[in-house]
């Protein structure tokens, strides 16, 4: 990891530790106030606990032009971004995090779409709905590894992360506690329930939390839609296309709408927020990721709407290309944040549990 980024975050953390005025905003501060000296791993852990809500920036009496030059959201964002790169597996792909995010995403989507179009040349003789364009077995052959390999890569990254922040034994309870807090986006409430400071300087708003929640739950519902489709397919021999009142559709349609709205909202907020309170170099990549998710959900909904029309023939490869891109980029894009954050929160839960035992 980059020592200068860690050193800058450490400098600021030491000032916060002498001040403590922000203690109630989020879980970063209680974790910070527990230490007296900060090892590199401590700083990395703090960075991954931070949600970049910016409450502590706007409330800080030491921001520039003050000579202490506090900008904790930025310092932690830089370390966080760097930590994802440092622990990415395989290391060579970590470069994907950087800058040209939009170009990578567009290129990949188009590239995969082209492949799928070619695959249509081998179009099945029979098959209904999507499978009229592409056989089920081809989809499975492509998406199973495209789903499992990135997950394996993430697992290896998290293992390196865990070792670097100090290791220890997690229990199911710790993971559950982290899951609960993520599900409510507790920390995005800002400690007082008014939300975070993002799109309009020091005004507290729930916008980011709500859009983020729509994105998360939309995503999970889309995921549930695909999973239930798989179960229906293999477990019950029920093949797509499914009717409106089938599980895949009941999850998929509202999930797609939520994901669409959530990502559109997040992208819009991102254009309003001060980039200098995040990691400026990561802005493009993060934006690309949000737009990619937006495109996944939009193309999915359009595809559903276009069932039975000629447009479906073109939309299907585009949608699948986007999904494939999304899966493959997961360990090397903003998507990684979810996994790292969960790990960091589980670690906090573990430390809190150990502290209670003493």
């Amino acid at each position: 990891m980059q020592i200068d980024l860690i050193q800058e975050a450490r400098r600021q953390a030491e000032i916060c530790n002498a001040c403590r005025y922000c203690e109630g905003y989020c879980s970063v501060f209680p974790a910070l106030h527990r230490e007296r000296v900060f090892a590199d791993g401590d700083i990395t852990q703090l960075a991954n606990l931070c949600h970049n809500c910016r409450g502590c920036y706007y409330a800080c009496q030491y921001t520039a032009p003050h000579e202490f030059d506090l900008n904790l959201p930025k310092a932690l964002a830089e370390v966080r971004q760097d930590s994802w790169k440092a622990y990415a597996w395989p290391a060579g792909l970590a470069k994907l995090f950087d800058r040209s995010g939009v170009a990578i995403a567009v290129g990949l989507v188009l590239g995969f779409a082209l492949l799928f179009l070619l695959a249509q040349a081998l179009r099945p003789e029979s098959g209904k709905g999507f499978y009229a364009y592409m056989s089920h077995s081809l989809m499975v052959a492509v998406f199973t590894p495209a789903f499992l390999l990135p997950l394996a890569a993430i697992a290896l990254s998290l293992r390196s992360y865990w070792q670097s922040v100090g290791g220890g034994r997690l229990t199911l309870g710790d993971v559950w506690s982290a899951t609960r807090s993520a599900g409510r986006m507790k920390n995005l409430e800002g400690g007082h329930g008014d939300g975070c400071n993002f799109e309009d300087e020091d005004r507290f708003s729930q916008a980011r939390r709500h859009f983020h929640q729509a994105t998360l739950y939309g995503f999970l519902m889309c995921f549930a839609s695909t999973s239930s489709g798989t179960v229906l397919h293999y477990g019950f021999g029920l093949e797509a296309p499914y009717g409106l009142f089938s599980l895949p559709k009941l999850f998929g349609v509202p999930g797609g709408v939520l994901l669409c709205l959530g990502t559109a909202g997040l992208a819009w907020l991102k254009t309003r927020a001060d980039p200098n309170l995040g990691a400026p170099a990561a802005w493009g990549g993060e934006m690309a990721f949000v737009l990619l998710l937006f495109f996944v959900s939009l193309s999915g909904l359009l595809l559903y709407a276009a069932t039975g029309t000629v447009a479906a023939g073109l939309l299907l490869p585009l949608h699948l290309g986007a999904v494939l891109t999304f899966f493959l980029l997961t360990p090397y894009s903003k998507m990684a944040h979810g996994f790292f954050r969960m790990t960091a929160m589980a670690r906090e839960a573990m430390l809190a549990r150990e502290a209670r035992k003493q």
């Binding site: 002498a18 001040c19 005025y21 922000c22 203690e23 706007y58 000579e67 202490f68 400690g191």
Partner: protein, 461 residues
């Protein structure tokens, strides 16, 4: 813009904002003139962390209860009786309804900070500290249509026939004049004008650090006093504490605080001790060390501790100077090494049984036969590495101010002025003649800011 405002509020800190919001909510057109640029708006209020609040049952973040009498007794203890009882009780009684009032205007509270548990019953902590509070008030002010001018220091008020006829302020290099119906002064003390401090204190004051805003230079205060507006307190009274000598000249704020004195010996630049470091628990002795250090040559002190005490106090912003031997430490601190070693040796020899040592209570682990003695927490300084901090006097605020009555109204020639009110630091001397109770500054500003706003609007309407 000359006459389009009913009320002008001078200053942009807590007291000013409370007055402006109160007046605007009652329908007045209000102008705030703030000397600082926007990033530094909010004066000393942006450095605060809590306010002291009376309450008869658990209230917001506050536990248990804190009665008027107990509050008043606490005040009397620290001011040695130099207190205007009537106004003090007004502030105390008013504090209870402030908490919900503040919440309704966007201020958010948090549980007592780690390391300050002893205050969880008496002091309500602002989430994000004073700057969070100030931000919330500026948002509220904007929603009420209050006009705020930044970098608009007031230079002069026309006093005529017991009344303010006009205000002069500069902005963008030109002088402007406004003639509102009523004026609230909430521009703090004069501590940032070190020349003035030096006139009152002697040249030693040039070496003082100012813990808060550089914009409280007392310009309005001096201007009004010169024109005969009634004064309270004298310029030699100020609240000063001992802070890390490496702190910036202005605006170092809370993080420059050092809590290690009780576990140390403190020497002057000749490496001589000069006061009982263990006289009482630190919060109670915090404020006298400002003056003690101010009385030493070059207004500097040096805290010396050893390894066993390093983790007994809250970390501060600058790491201590560290050395493996006392000689080296003396070298790094620019102290005479032989003198320092002799002082430490003498101190160590005077230490006795330390088995009763208790870092958070008066433990009577004392020296014997030493002058000055150390009456608690006296453990020999023996374990390397050794650590040192420099100490300087850090001025929090000054007491010289405008004398007000229970309506926050200023007076001239023993008669109330018809359209001038004052709130906050600039009139706090009307309540406390000396000493200070943690969290009372913000209470005075909030209570009297609201009173001033209310009275000013009654006059303007």
């Amino acid at each position: 813009m000359t006459d389009s405002f009913d009320i002008a509020v001078i200053g942009g800190g807590n007291a000013a904002l409370c007055a402006a919001i109160t007046a605007a909510e009652a329908g007045a057109r209000v102008l705030i003139l703030e000397a600082a640029p926007k990033p530094y708006r909010g004066g000393n209020s942006r450095h605060t962390r809590n306010f002291r609040c009376m309450h008869s049952r658990p209230l917001g973040p506050l536990t248990d209860s804190y009665s008027e009498q107990e509050y008043f007794d606490d005040l009397i203890k620290v001011t040695g009786g130099k207190t205007n009882e009537n106004l003090a009780r007004l502030a105390i009684r008013g504090s209870e309804e402030c908490l919900p009032w503040m919440e309704e205007r966007g201020v958010r509270f948090q549980p007592s900070l780690s390391g300050t548990l002893s205050l969880s019953r008496t002091n309500a902590f602002f989430l994000g500290g004073g700057k969070g509070l100030v931000n919330a008030y500026y948002r509220t002010a904007a929603a009420l249509g209050i006009e705020v001018r930044y970098e608009a220091p007031v230079t002069h008020l026309d006093v005529e026939d017991g009344k303010i006829n006009g205000i002069e302020f500069t902005q963008n290099g030109t002088t402007h004049r406004v003639s509102p119906k009523a004026v609230v002064v909430a521009s703090g003390g004069f501590q940032a004008d070190t020349d003035w401090l030096a006139r009152a204190w002697g040249p030693a004051a040039k070496n003082f650090l100012i813990r808060g805003t550089p914009y409280n230079r007392g310009v309005v205060l001096a201007d009004l006093l010169e024109q005969g507006v009634e004064q309270v307190g004298d310029p030699t009274q100020c609240h000063a504490v001992a802070i890390d000598g490496r702190a910036p000249k202005f605006d170092g704020g809370i993080v420059t605080r050092l809590d290690c004195v009780p576990f140390s010996i403190v020497v002057n630049k000749d490496a001589e001790r000069f006061y009982d470091e263990g006289e009482d628990v630190w919060p109670k002795r915090y404020a006298i060390w400002g003056r003690l250090v101010a009385a030493q040559p070059e207004q500097v002190g040096y805290v010396i501790i050893d390894a066993k005490s390093l983790e007994l106090f809250m970390p501060s912003v600058f790491p201590p100077i560290k050395a493996d031997t006392l000689e080296d430490l003396a070298g790094k601190l620019n102290l005479p090494a032989d003198r320092l070693c002799a002082t430490v040796e003498e101190f160590n020899a005077a230490c006795g049984d330390t088995s009763a040592f208790h870092p958070t209570e008066l433990d009577s682990v004392a020296t014997s036969g030493l002058t000055p003695p150390k009456t608690n927490w006296a453990r020999p300084i023996t374990e390397a590495p050794f650590y040192g901090y420099t100490l300087r006097t850090g001025v929090t605020f000054t007491y010289l101010g405008l004398k007000v009555n229970e309506n926050a109204q200023c007076s001239i020639g023993n008669r109330p002025m018809s359209n001038l009110w004052a709130a906050g630091e600039t009139m706090a001397g009307s309540i406390l003649g000396q000493g200070y109770l943690a969290g009372f500054g913000m209470t005075i500003g909030t209570v009297f800011g609201r009173i001033a706003g209310r009275e000013a609007v009654a006059h303007a309407n």
